[in-house]
């Protein structure tokens, strides 16, 4: 997907998944989507909490076995 920033935090533990997600959010432009992939279980719950605190859009949370994939959208950028 165009305008998608991928963050791979598989194998990382607290607080790295949250921190790397935040770094990507800070660098992202309006309208861009961030895809975070990881397997640290608490972060699957906590990254959406951060997304809510930051006023961003949580597009989806998918789970496959131990791995999860979270899509975050930075508001703005034309198509909403």
């Amino acid at each position: 997907m165009k305008g998608t920033i991928r963050v791979d935090v598989r194998g990382e533990t607290c607080p790295v998944p949250l921190v790397e997600t935040r770094k990507a959010i800070r660098k992202a432009k309006k309208g861009e989507v961030i895809e975070v992939t990881g397997n640290h279980a608490p972060s699957k719950e906590e990254i959406p909490m951060a997304v809510e605190s930051l006023g961003l859009e949580l597009v989806s949370v998918e789970e496959k076995g131990d791995e999860w994939k979270i899509l975050i959208k930075i508001p703005g950028g034309g198509d909403g």
Partner: protein, 139 residues
């Protein structure tokens, strides 16, 4: 105004510095502003090359305990204190050094790691920030 966290780092123990940096980076990641005030033994950890050098607060056993904890942390892929401090700075966290401690410990700003320190100050600055904070912790 963004939500704010202020931390006092009075202790220089390895595990306490970990707690401070995990909470600090976590709060920044959740969109809060964070200031850490380093005082007394905590201030030692701001000296050049000293961030990782503190002993464990318990079961240090002349460094053997710390060695074992570090080995387990490496196995669990826990990020190092230096790398967490880099994250903290990158995400906009503030690090403040206590003027009075520098005076009584006979240390100067020249000894401190200038990559880390944002500013130095006295208690009034902490109180001003703490009263505006949602969370304030003493470590």
């Amino acid at each position: 105004m963004a939500d704010k966290v202020t931390l006092i780092i009075q202790s220089g123990y390895y595990d306490r510095i970990y707690s401070a940096l995990v909470i600090g980076t976590g709060a920044l990641s959740m969109g809060m502003d964070v200031s850490m005030y380093f005082t007394f033994f905590g201030l030692d950890r701001l000296k050049k090359g000293k961030l990782e050098k503190g002993p464990l607060s318990r079961m240090n056993m002349l460094g053997l305990g710390k060695f074992m904890v570090k080995r387990r942390m490496k196995k669990a892929n826990v990020r190092s204190l230096s790398a967490l401090m880099d994250d903290y700075i990158e995400l906009g966290g503030n690090v403040l050094a206590c003027d009075m401690t520098m005076e009584i410990m006979g240390s100067s700003l020249d000894e401190m790691d200038e990559r880390i320190i944002t500013d130095h100050c006295a208690v009034g600055t902490y109180i001003k920030e703490a009263r505006e904070s949602d969370i304030t912790l003493f470590l």
